[in-house]
Amino acid sequence: MLAKKLCFTGCANDLHDKALPAQKAEMNLVFPGNALAVRRALKASMVGLRHLDLSQDEKGVVEIVLAEVLNNIVEHAYDDTHTGVIELTVSRQDDDLIFLVLDDGLPLPEAKVPAGAAHNLNTPTSDLPEGGFGWFLIKQLTRNLSYQRSGNRNRLSFSIALKDTQSF
């Protein structure tokens, strides 16, 4: 119980393990768009999804994708001059988890999902990439990835098919 207090005190409005109660197949979290809050929200999301009895593979995929999506927002949408909140909604439809992520930060470049191409790793060690893996991972692990800019709001939606996760 102590760990729970330490993790969630003073964060978003509903970061606790009742975020996705069994009788309601939807989890909704609202939290500040900064690195520390994202770390806590990730933890809260994994706790909130616990009742779905996800396998280790499934949990791993969900956590990787959420970490990349939320870190992107903190690093790019909310920069030094823009601050705001992130709203994350997760629902389950049969064997798919459906994600909706909203923020009020800067739009994605050209208002579209970046290409997220694979890196060429056949290079000398000194030329190996140290970044640019985020969108590549998101694209590999999700389906139905869609981005919309409406007004000042970014809206990213995607799904994770639980049956896919074993093959990743």
């Binding site: 690195a35 520390l36 770390r39 280790q56 593979d57 949990k59 791993g60 995929v61 956590e63 990787i64 970490a67 990349e68 870190n71 903190v74 690093e75 694979a118 890196h119 790793l121 060690t125 000194s126 190996l128 990439p129 140290e130 970044g131 640019g132 893996f133 985020g134 590549f136 991972l137 590999q140 692990l141 990743f168």
Partner: protein, 115 residues
């Protein structure tokens, strides 16, 4: 960032004490790795037993740690969790790093001989 090391035979084994290498600690990981790899044996083995999760920033920091060791040195990894392995596999970084199932497997008889 908790990194400790022990020199076993001709290998510097660096144990990561944190359970995540993510955006929040990627830079301190890279800096601390530089300190620990500047001196000591030429073979560096990073024990990831405690690490449950890495994100792309963490992966970038591990790549950076490899790039910053001298040409005469190697940096290898051991004890990756299933989620960490997944990130290496998906990005194909598993083709760049030598990845060992355990410290024992990586060092062979080294531990016994270390006395």
């Amino acid at each position: 960032m908790q990194l400790t090391f022990q020199d076993i035979a001709d290998t510097r084994v660096i144990v990561v004490g944190d359970n995540r290498i993510d955006a929040a600690i990627a830079i301190s990981f890279k800096d601390r790795m530089r300190e620990l790899t500047e001196t000591g044996p030429n073979r560096i083995l990073v024990d990831m037993t405690c690490v449950d999760f890495i994100d792309s920033s963490g992966l970038g920091a591990i790549v950076a740690a490899m790039k910053q060791v001298a040409d005469s040195k190697s940096l290898e990894l051991a004890n990756l969790s299933s989620t960490v392995k997944k990130v290496f596999r998906l990005t194909r970084m598993d083709t760049v790093f030598a990845i060992h199932p355990s410290i024992d497997a990586a060092i062979g008889g080294g531990i016994a001989n270390a006395g």
